[in-house]
């Protein structure tokens, strides 16, 4: 076997086919018609302008999370704490909105300040994980996971405690903000805010430019590929790890801020909506390359939104999207491993 584009593509195609196969088996086991289910997913994602807009609404936080994760993956870190960082971004944004909503300030300015507060919140939470790793010797996966639980608990406490709705606290979150504090919604849509689309596109472009074009990005790559050598080459290693945590936290916080200011308009218990974990899957699927992250994230968002149709139309659970996404990632990574082994064998033989 040779190492070239076509074998790589063949392995990726094989992964997609296998993932579809597993999902089909799951559908058959549930007693559903697979073709009909896939049709419903596709229609649910692109069948009308309104559902397509929903796909974009879910694409934005997913792409923001993925952008941040590409930075931490570049430096060789597994920032699983991104869920908590998104949550903290949402909490900080809500806090800023609550503090400023009754002031005389221009609502546009209030929104901008709230988004900045969210970015700071995400960065702060990420730096905790970074500090635990750098100064406490706590693996970032364990630290991040722990901080995720703390963030969830903090969020629930706020929703059911200090920030509860007048009267009785509820799982549906805090009292919605006034319309003036929403990000402007596109005409003819119920949720799509063009501004967030622009933010997400700028974010992924900025990350791409940073990793591929700047000295800082090159140093991150060097640290990620070989910390010891990078140090001997004169690169301050832990400082670069901390910076990448902070940058990822900024993007995660931004995703949380978008969830509050343009999707839910309030703080809800599951404010991160699993976009952090999904972002990890997207980043793995694209092989940590920023260039193809946007379309893959769009595909994942489409699967999520499309599968919402399943319970409505076919009385199936919508978690089929998760099955498809998870198996796809597994098979792609498995394919990479298998390909590597075959290449090694082919090399030994020659």
């Amino acid at each position: 076997m040779r190492d070239n584009r076509s074998t790589r593509f063949a392995f990726q195609l094989g992964a997609v086919v296998l993932a579809l196969g597993i999902a089909t088996l799951a559908l058959l086991a549930a007693g559903a018609q697979p073709i009909q289910a896939y049709r419903n997913i596709i229609l649910g994602a692109v069948g009308s302008w309104d559902v397509a807009a929903n796909v974009l609404v879910s694409w934005v936080p997913l792409l923001l999370a993925t952008s941040g994760l590409l930075v931490t993956f570049t430096v060789g870190l597994w920032n699983i704490g991104i869920e908590g960082q998104i949550t903290l971004g949402a909490i900080f944004t809500t806090w800023a909105l609550r503090s400023l909503q009754s002031s005389a300030m221009d609502p546009a300015l209030v929104i901008i300040l709230a988004v900045l507060a969210g970015m700071a919140g995400g960065a702060l939470w990420a730096m905790f994980a970074g500090a635990l790793k750098t100064f406490g010797g706590v693996n970032e996966i364990f630290g991040g996971l722990g901080l995720n639980f703390v963030a969830t608990a903090l969020n629930l406490w706020l929703i059911f405690g200090p920030w509860k709705r007048p009267g009785v606290a509820s799982m549906s979150g805090t009292l919605p903000f006034e319309r003036a504090l929403w990000m402007p919604i596109a005409a003819g849509s119920s949720r799509l805010t063009p501004m967030t689309l622009i933010i997400a596109v700028i974010a992924i472009l900025a990350v791409y430019a940073m990793i591929e074009g700047t000295y800082f990005g090159l140093r991150l790559k060097a640290v990620g590929k070989n910390q010891k050598s990078a140090y001997i080459l004169g690169i301050p290693t832990w400082q670069h790890m901390m910076s990448s945590f902070a940058i990822c936290g900024v993007f995660a916080g931004l995703a949380g801020a978008v969830q509050v200011t343009s999707v839910y308009h309030r703080l809800i218990p599951s404010i991160s909506s699993g976009y952090g974990y999904m972002g990890l899957m997207v980043a793995m699927l694209v092989g940590y390359k920023a260039s193809i992250a946007a379309p893959v994230a769009l595909f994942f968002a489409a699967l999520n939104v499309g599968s919402i149709q399943l319970p409505i139309v076919m009385k199936l659970d919508s978690s089929l999207a998760g099955v498809l996404q998870g198996t796809l990632v597994l098979f792609v990574i498995l394919g990479q491993g298998a390909r590597g082994r075959l290449l090694k064998k082919a090399k030994v033989r020659t």
Partner: protein
């Protein structure tokens, strides 16, 4: 057990690590295997203990040809290996560590094992408490534990790889007594070492490997001179060296003490002058790499101080990056592990090491830089070649090309290890160019000819002892070899004591 190795051969790429080695070791023999680093001792023992499979050759136990497919298979056939770094489980209790590796049964018979452990320990007069954790034991006690474990698992051949490094003198004496006792009971012992005195004190037979070949065998009484000659080859006359006038002081190491994982050194003094070349000689792991790293700020001394320049600029406790800024370059031996980043191109390495400033990478400038360095250092590779695709010689050239100018001091581990003769001459040519510009060089080498050929002064490291800098013009390969093997230290003035 009677052991026979017949025409064992093993290649790693182009390197012949073992070239048709044939050895016969009768039962009750204590065989010492001598040889310098890279001679093939470890490869041979790893083949014998099932870590590697040989390319060709046979292993016979008690006259029967056997195939050893894994270390677990080796111990089932009675071959036990005691590794240089004990392969035990520090977070476990001694008894659990002892039981591990025993086959059969779902639930270990702890009480029975404890009884047998105590009996075995008593037999060899070892006092290890089976209920303490392994990480509370000394290296010597961990070795004793490993020996007991291997015996319990039924070892009838015991291989020991450099067992006397890092253990105290009484422990060494106890180890030797144990080994002699075991041999008297019919056990076959293979003792891999570079310490001549240990081999002379213990072994009943010696074999010397050099460059993958068995060059000689000897029975006691051992002739030290002959053993050294077999290990290092015949003395070659050296070209007379041009003596440079010593320049200004660039590095002063005063009374340095260092704590390594397996050994300590203390009281090391060295003053390096501009344009001077200092060779650090010794078997691998004798403390020279530790000392060189400390000169680069990569390890911090527990005592003493490092000063740079004539004005005695104190650098003690400063980081490697501070040393780097002061003009100290460090070139490690593990090129792809510690010096180069696999996956990045040559151009990217030059960008990183030059510390180019700004936000966006200046592609044109960096490609020009890479192209000029590649031409200047004659590297066979393109600017966009990934470093791991280069040959060892070209990787070493790339390391030299990555050094900045001007430099006060170059610290280099094994500058020519694994290089062909052309690259070797090239590398030293480039290093000598730096010397002519006033840069001092401190290097480690296992090649005694290289040490004597290129250094002005030599420091010898042996098991934590360090010689004062010796004039290389007054040293012969044989004298150096004796010192490296731990002989003739009494006559040295100013050598440090065992730490």
């Amino acid at each position: 057990m009677h052991v026979e190795l017949r025409k064992i051969a093993k290649c790693f790429g182009a390197l012949r690590a073992n070239d048709a080695i044939t050895l016969t070791v009768p039962a009750s023999t204590i065989l010492g295997i001598l040889g310098e680093n890279g001679a093939g001792k470890s490869t041979l023992m790893k083949i014998f203990s099932g870590f590697y499979s040989p390319d060709s050759g046979e292993i016979l136990l008690d006259g029967k040809a056997v195939r050893i497919s894994s270390p677990a298979d080796a111990i089932r056939q009675g071959i036990g290996m005691l590794h240089q770094d004990p392969l035990d489980f520090p977070p476990l209790r001694v008894l659990d560590d002892f039981i591990l590796g025993r086959r059969g049964g779902l639930i270990p018979n702890r009480r029975g094992a404890a009884k047998e452990f105590k009996e075995l320990a008593l037999r060899f007069d070892f006092s290890i408490d089976p209920d303490v954790y392994v990480d509370t034991l000394t290296v010597g006690e961990r070795q004793q534990l490993e020996i007991l474990r291997l015996l319990w698992l039924g070892a009838r051949v015991l291989i020991l790889d450099e067992p006397t490094t890092g253990i105290s003198l009484p422990q060494k004496e106890k180890l030797f007594a144990t080994l002699k006792k075991l041999a008297a009971e019919g056990m076959t012992i293979i003792f891999v070492s570079h310490k001549l005195e240990d081999v002379e004190a213990l072994c009943t037979q010696a074999a010397v490997l050099r460059q993958g070949v068995l060059v000689g065998e000897m029975l006691p009484p051992f002739q030290t001179k002959d053993l050294i000659e077999m290990m290092f080859g015949k003395e070659v006359p050296l070209a007379p060296k041009l003596k440079l006038e010593p320049g200004k002081s660039v590095l002063a190491a005063k009374h340095i003490a260092l704590d390594g994982i397996r050994l300590q050194i203390k009281g090391v003094d060295l003053e390096v002058r501009a344009g001077e070349v200092i060779g650090l000689a010794g078997m691998e792991g004798s403390g020279q790499a530790l000392f060189l790293g400390a000169c680069a700020g990569l390890a911090q001394p527990t005592e003493g101080s490092f000063c740079l320049d004539e004005d005695e600029h104190d650098m003690t406790g400063r980081s490697h990056h501070d040393f780097r800024r002061e003009g100290v370059a460090y070139l490690p031996a593990a090129r792809l592990e510690q010096a180069l980043v696999a996956g990045l191109s040559l151009t990217e390495h030059f960008i990183l090491s030059e510390g180019m400033k700004g936000l966006f990478i200046d592609r044109r400038k960096s490609e020009e830089l890479a192209a000029s360095r590649i031409a200047l250092y004659n590297i066979k590779g393109r600017p966009d070649s990934a470093v791991e695709s280069l040959s060892g010689g070209n990787q070493q050239r790339a390391l030299l090309a990555l050094m900045r100018s001007p430099l006060k001091l170059i610290l280099v581990e094994h500058p020519t290890r694994g290089l062909d003769i052309e690259s070797t001459i090239y590398v030293w040519g480039k290093l000598k160019e730096r010397c002519a510009q006033g840069t001092a060089i401190v290097f480690i080498s296992a090649d005694l000819d290289e040490v004597l050929q290129y250094s002005d002064r030599v420091m010898v490291f042996f098991a934590g002892r360090v010689s004062p800098p010796l004039d290389s013009g007054k040293l012969s390969v044989e004298e150096l070899g004796r010192l490296i093997g731990g002989k003739g230290w009494e006559a040295l003035q100013g050598a440090t004591e065992h730490a």
